[in-house]
Amino acid sequence: MAGKQKQDNTAGITHEGQFYSAERLHAMHDMMLYIRRFEEKAGQMYGLKKIGGFCHLCNGQEAVCVGMEEAADSKDYMMTSYRDHGHIIARGTDPTAVMAELLGRAGGVVGGKGGSMHMFDIEKNFVGGNGIVGEQVPIGIGFGFASQYRDDKRVSITIMGDGGVNQGAVYESFNMAALWKLPVVFVIENNQYAMGTSLSRASAETHLYKRGISFKVPGIQVDGMDVLEVERKMGEALEHARSGKGPMIVEMMTYRYRGHSMSDPATYRTRDEVNEWRTGRDPIARLQKQMVAAGLATEAEFKQKDKDIKKAVVAVAKAAEAQPEPDLSVLWDDIITDEIPNAYPYPRQVG
């Protein structure tokens, strides 16, 4: 149970024996709120047809994004699927570049080549951004393999959803990661729905943290709506992987407030169900309540913060929209590293 506590006279909250300073709590709160408002803006821009294609928002899942990032080392690799805006923003990538990517602009994180599903930032060790369900999991263990090969103590945080976890590639990856004790934390964001299919309609074993049992991959279940709990448990899992004990599964119990993608009205679930999560378990409201109770902030402060963040997001969207579209010449860039000029298909030519 979280409560007010002073440690060395520093204001903060102690949660399950772990101390979080007021400064850190504010940063975590602000990042969650930023992601929430950013996603809302993205949804709005999609509605205005300024964002095209697929667009998967993570409203409701912010505690997972932020808590994991808080626990991780910046050198750790973070690998996810297409619901990636929140994760890359939590990693510290410039939100204007993320929004510019959504808008297909030159200054997007991948120069407008990827869009919503393909966010990458090599400087931040954010390694995707992968569009095929489950595909990122074997790639994720590859990063863990490289870390073990070089013995550089980096962990590969490999994220999938409750839909992705049913792909065969995931079990091939569990097996190899356990067999070779690769430093990987498999995070399952269980938001209860794989597109429109509820967990119980798609999974015989709905306790997804148990999915590694046959491969001797230990698993834990975490309240993914509680950012402090996510941070604490993720810290334990990272320590486990980093210390050479092999992979671990962390199932984050969470919920997405929006549909699977922007084209999904989410008629497969009741309004009551959504409201129960939204009003009863919202991760941002929860942390706000804890911080107010601990005397670390007031409701008025949070209201002001929300106004400031909304303003900041509007400014980001404006700056991104003001950017030019990519130059047509980049169509041919970044396909081949060692181009062979005299062989067909010729680099940068139609025929």
């Binding site: 690799y77 690998m79 997007g108 994180v109 991948v110 120069g111 407008g112 080549k113 990827g114 393909h118 990458f120 930032d121 090599i122 390694v127 995707g128 951004g129 992968n130 569009g131 095929i132 595909e135 999991v137 074997p138 790639i139 994720g140 263990i141 590859g142 990063f143 863990g144 393999f145 490289a146 870390s147 090969y149 590969s156 065969g168 590639a169 091939e172 990856s173 097996n175 190899m176 067999l179 860039d333 970044d334 396909i335 081949i336 590293t337 060692d338 062979i340 005299n342 062989a343 067909y344 298909p345 010729y346 025929g351």
Partner: protein
């Protein structure tokens, strides 16, 4: 020059590159303790140890993806598929991940790696184990496709493929593994994207890759007896294709037959003959002919299998007709 087998030549290329570059490792089914299903990696576990020569579970999609991640992280994986038939299970990682990673990440990440293994028809193993897939991969931007036809090319092209900074699909031939030929010792590199004229001739150009190069050379000997002097061009790299060498040969001979083991529809021969039509139309005295595998799954029975594959006789016949000889 030493006379060694095609499989030994491949082994030499991998060993040389692994000695040269700590980042290179070999991973696949049976590559380590068993010394390779086709003995291509014979002795490599002893030489490099289990950290760099790694036996995998039978899990092609998984270890192909592991290779993609390792390459993105800066290593230089050689991922062996026991045969390319099994790589179909890994196609998502090859096509959706490796081939597109550089583009999709705006150049931030790339996948410098080699996927290699036996391709083409084996002997008497029926439909699922005897197939040519080079046209599948040759269709994909972001990939290079390399296919050696003899031991020296096997060594030089594999070494070049391992050093290459892109994803290379390296398709060996199961039937050729035991072939013996002269191979340069020590470091030997053949640049990718360069065809090789395996026989000089003036009357007709036979374009053939992998195992079919040997068939084309045998056909050329038969044609010589009929007074037809055939030139044999081996592209060696399928994508990107050294079409200049092919077009220069056709400009000289004015006739061409393209030979491939794979199926005819949308095959490599279709692309090469289209290029000759587009760029060498005025040089042609006859339509380009194709000799391909028959449009059937590979059967088991010896006579049926023989019938399904291209033969030297079919190449001779196609060349004779193209040269308009009685």
């Amino acid at each position: 020059m030493a006379k060694i087998t095609y499989r030994e030549a491949l082994n030499q290329a991998m060993c040389n590159e692994m000695e040269r570059d700590e980042r290179v490792f070999l991973m696949g089914e049976e590559v380590a303790e068993y010394n390779g299903a086709y003995k291509v990696s014979q002795g490599m576990l002893d030489k490099f140890g289990p950290k760099r020569v790694i036996d995998t579970p039978i899990t092609e999609l998984g270890f192909a993806g592991l290779g993609v991640g390792a390459a993105m992280a800066g290593l230089r994986p050689i991922i062996e598929f026991m045969t390319w038939n099994f790589a179909i299970l890994a196609a998502d990682q090859i096509v959706n991940a490796a081939a597109k990673m550089k583009y999709m990440t705006g150049g931030q990440y790339s996948c410098p790696m080699v996927f290699r293994g036996a391709g083409g028809a084996a002997a008497r193993v029926s439909s699922q184990h005897s197939q040519a897939f080079e046209n599948w991969y040759a269709n994909i931007p972001g990939l290079k496709v390399v296919m050696p036809s003899n031991p020296a090319d096997a060594k030089g092209l594999l070494a070049a493929s391992i050093r290459d900074n892109d994803t290379v699909i390296f398709i060996e031939n199961e039937i050729n593994y035991g072939d013996i030929g002269e191979v340069p010792e020590g470091e030997y590199i053949i640049p990718l994207g360069k065809a090789d004229i395996k026989r000089v001739g003036k009357d007709i150009t036979l374009i053939a890759h992998s195992r079919m190069t040997g068939y084309a050379l045998a056909a050329a000997e038969e044609l010589a007896k009929m007074g037809i002097d055939a030139e044999v061009v081996d592209p060696r790299t399928i994508r990107p294709l050294d079409e200049a060498t092919i077009l220069a040969s056709v400009a000289k001979t004015n006739r061409a037959v393209v030979i491939e083991e794979g199926w005819r529809f949308a095959g490599i021969g279709a692309e090469i003959s289209a290029r000759i039509m587009e760029k060498g139309f005025d040089d042609l005295d006859a339509p380009v002919a194709r000799v391909t595998g028959k449009d059937v799954p590979m059967p088991y029975a010896a006579n049926l299998e023989n019938h399904a594959l291209p033969s030297v006789a079919e190449i001779v016949e196609a060349a004779r007709v193209t040269c308009n000889r009685a």
